[in-house]
């Protein structure tokens, strides 16, 4: 029996050595690009774009390889892979907050020479800014994002309520509607699970009350009276069951589910939720959704959204940079971004599309976005962003689940953030 095994082994050894390491790619004349992208939920539009690209560039094949879903998992996977000097990744989707991390680690290619000033002007300034680090351009933006308020237009209309401009109004209106509807409705929901979702929501709360996280001079400002105030408001809302009891482990999918199953009056989510909410096979509130800017806190001047978005980074070790850039630019072109906007309610990173007739016909509320995006808040660009975000998220959660008082939580966050990178 052992001899047989030995023979099998001797056959297997060359077999797996052959497949070890990077994968074999297409024929020698044809260029195959490996694109590490979002997962299959966006498959259809991506495929259409790839096919359109192939019509103009038949000698380039684009292979989509899926990254894990959660943003943090994507980051982990990409860092692990890129640090190996792996040349099999050509380009990949990157969150707006990753520029400093990848650039400072020397893992991506600088794009200044590939994107001229004239091209950059076509994009929203915030998106180009997020793709910069230490004065150089590192990514090509294809999508921007800003947190918005979703509301049940049918319920607000039925009870003659306006769209709330402050959180005070929001909770009051929701309470009145809930009572009038006989109970069972939560006021607000967001993706408050520990992670980037919680960070985004919290940053929005703080800035909507005129608070800050990191000042323009780089100092840590998270422990402020304004922040404590707005955090206390949210903690009370959670305590009084104005948010679903399980919200602290809700990802964006769970938050959307609560809204789409008709259990919410309001929801905070990214714009892409709109298209999903209109799908009658998945949502019970199709046709009943409205979108508005986020409300402000008692001391706030205006509701503030957090800028999100995605861009394409080029692997420094890619062997097919020119071909990759061709596709990357195509994916960020007006054609591609418009398609994503129409199909998936993405927010384009290009200015012109916000005045596009087709887009506005389908999503009239898009006209509000230029002003929302103008005043939107960027998360801190720092090589240590992952740690800072983790601290923020955990401490805010500590306050929400009442294991710490809001002031204690923010004081601890202040201390921990000041220690980062030391």
């Amino acid at each position: 029996m052992k001899q047989r095994n030995l023979i099998c082994l001797f056959l297997l050894v060359p077999a797996f050595l052959f497949s070890a390491g990077t994968q074999e790619t297409g024929k020698s004349k044809e260029v195959v690009l490996n694109w590490y992208s979002h997962a299959s939920s966006l498959g259809a539009t991506e495929q259409t774009i790839i096919e359109a690209f192939n019509e103009q560039n038949p000698d380039i094949t684009v292979k989509v390889i899926e990254l894990p879903e959660a943003t943090n998992d994507k980051l982990q996977a990409l860092l692990i892979a890129l640090q190996s000097g792996d040349s099999s990744i050509d380009f990949f989707n990157a969150d707006v907050t990753w520029t400093a991390t990848f650039a400072s680690a020397g893992l991506i290619e600088q794009l200044d020479s590939y994107m001229l000033e004239s091209e950059r002007k076509e994009f929203l300034p915030g998106t180009i800014e997020a793709a910069r680090y230490q004065g150089k351009l590192w990514g090509i933006p294809f999508r921007t994002d800003a947190g918005v308020l979703y509301y049940r237009s049918d319920l607000l209309e039925k009870h003659g309520k306006p769209v709330p401009k402050t959180y005070e109004e929001l909770f009051a209106i929701a309470a009145q509607i809930n009572e009038a509807e006989g109970g069972g409705l939560y006021a607000l929901v967001g993706s408050l699970a520990n992670g980037e979702g919680m960070t985004c929501n919290a940053v929005e709360w703080f800035y909507s009350n005129n608070g800050e996280v990191i000042g323009s001079d780089g100092s840590i400002r998270i422990n402020s009276p304004q922040n404590v105030e707005i955090l206390s408001i949210m903690v009370d809302a959670y305590k009084n069951r104005l948010m679903p009891e399980g919200v602290l482990s809700y990802g964006s999918g769970d938050a959307r589910a609560s809204m789409f199953q008709g259990k919410q009056v309001f929801m905070r989510a990214w714009p892409k939720a709109y298209a999903m909410g209109q799908d009658a096979t998945k949502s019970q509130v199709a046709g009943k959704l409205g979108v508005a800017p986020l409300p402000k806190g008692p001391q706030g001047t205006a509701g503030k959204s957090v800028v999100g978005g995605w861009q394409l980074f080029l692997n420094k070790n890619s062997k097919q940079k020119d071909a990759a850039i061709k596709f990357m630019k195509f994916y960020a072109s007006e054609y591609a971004q418009k398609l994503h906007a129409l199909n998936d309610s993405y927010l384009p990173a290009r200015r012109s599309l916000y005045a596009d007739a087709d887009i506005l016909a389908k999503y009239p509320y898009y006209s509000q976005f230029p002003s929302i995006l103008e005043s939107a808040v960027a998360r801190p660009q720092s090589p240590y962003y992952a740690e800072i975000s983790a601290i923020l998220s955990a401490e805010v959660q500590n306050a929400m689940k009442q294991s710490k008082s809001p002031s204690q939580a923010l004081a601890d966050a202040q201390k921990a953030m000041m220690n980062v990178g030391k």
């Binding site: 497949s19 879903e69 589910a257």
Partner: protein, 274 residues
């Protein structure tokens, strides 16, 4: 023969039923829900009027489950085979040859089996990375061999001691070299033991997560890492996940049921880590 009281028999069967329900319910629930439409899963209907196979179809299309299964199978099989070969040689060396330093060696083997993987994860990641073996079969196989070797050695070394010294001594008198003794005499006798410990090693390699996550995060994912990929945008497609889990679990359970005598025997004598 001791007579057993009726009350004991009764409590035994009561216990047995309770035990089987406790252990079996999660599996039952997983299997049941894998056949339900999503709306029935969400509305908590235990036995809906309509059942579907769509979750099983989705299990392979939403994510390439067949790839994950294939990867896990290759990695687990190859690491087990190597561990068995290398491990048998080592057990023989420890058990049947007069080498010096047996205690330190056994101590090292024990230490590795007690070692928390987190202690070595980063250097191993660096080593595998510099060998260019990230996202490959070889990298993960090498690491799995490290841990399954300990299981094999621990199991086979005492097992070998049950083979009487005389058999080899007789062969030596006839002029056989140690290598010949090993090949012609020991290996055939090792058969059952190797098979048993091979099963244990295979199961251990199959279920491994930590190194699979770190070394193969993008391609050549194993089933344990791949299962987490079904999570779409922080939303879990439970029907699909349950179907995928069922697909992963049913072969394992079948294997266990078929080979139960060996596995139980192996665990009870070896009694090593999980």
């Amino acid at each position: 023969m001791k007579v057993i009281r009726k009350s004991t028999i009764f409590s035994f069967y009561l216990f047995a039923v309770f035990f089987i329900v406790l252990i079996g319910f999660p599996f039952f629930w997983q299997l049941l829900n894998s056949f339900k439409y999503e709306r029935d899963i969400f509305s908590l209907t235990w036995f809906p009027s309509a059942y579907t196979l769509e979750n099983y179809y989705k299990a392979f299309t939403v994510r390439p489950l067949h790839e994950y299964l294939g990867n896990s199978f290759i990695i687990a099989t190859v690491s087990t085979l190597f561990a068995l070969v290398i491990g048998s040689l080592s057990s023989y060396a420890i058990g049947k040859t007069p080498i010096k330093g047996k205690t330190p060696i056994l101590l090292v083997v024990l230490s590795i089996s007690l070692l928390p993987p987190i202690v070595i994860i980063n250097p191993i990641y660096t080593i595998i990375r510099s060998l260019g073996l990230l996202n490959s079969y070889t990298g993960l196989i090498l690491v799995n061999i490290l841990f399954t070797l300990t299981i094999v050695i621990w199991f086979l070394t005492p097992y070998l001691s049950s083979i009487p010294v005389e058999i080899e001594e007789a062969a030596e008198i006839d002029g056989a070299s140690p290598a010949q003794c090993f090949m012609k005499i020991i290996i055939p006798l090792l058969g059952p033991g190797v098979f048993t410990v091979g099963i244990l090693a295979f199961i251990q390699a199959w279920n491994e997560y930590l190194f699979a996550l770190v070394l193969n995060p993008i391609t050549i994912k194993t089933v344990t890492v791949g299962l987490k990929m079904y999570e779409a945008d922080n939303y879990m497609p439970w029907g699909t996940i349950m179907a995928a889990s069922a697909i992963i679990v049913v072969p394992l359970i079948t294997l266990v049921l078929l080979l139960q005598k060996r596995i139980i025997g192996g665990l009870m004598t070896g009694g090593m880590k999980e």
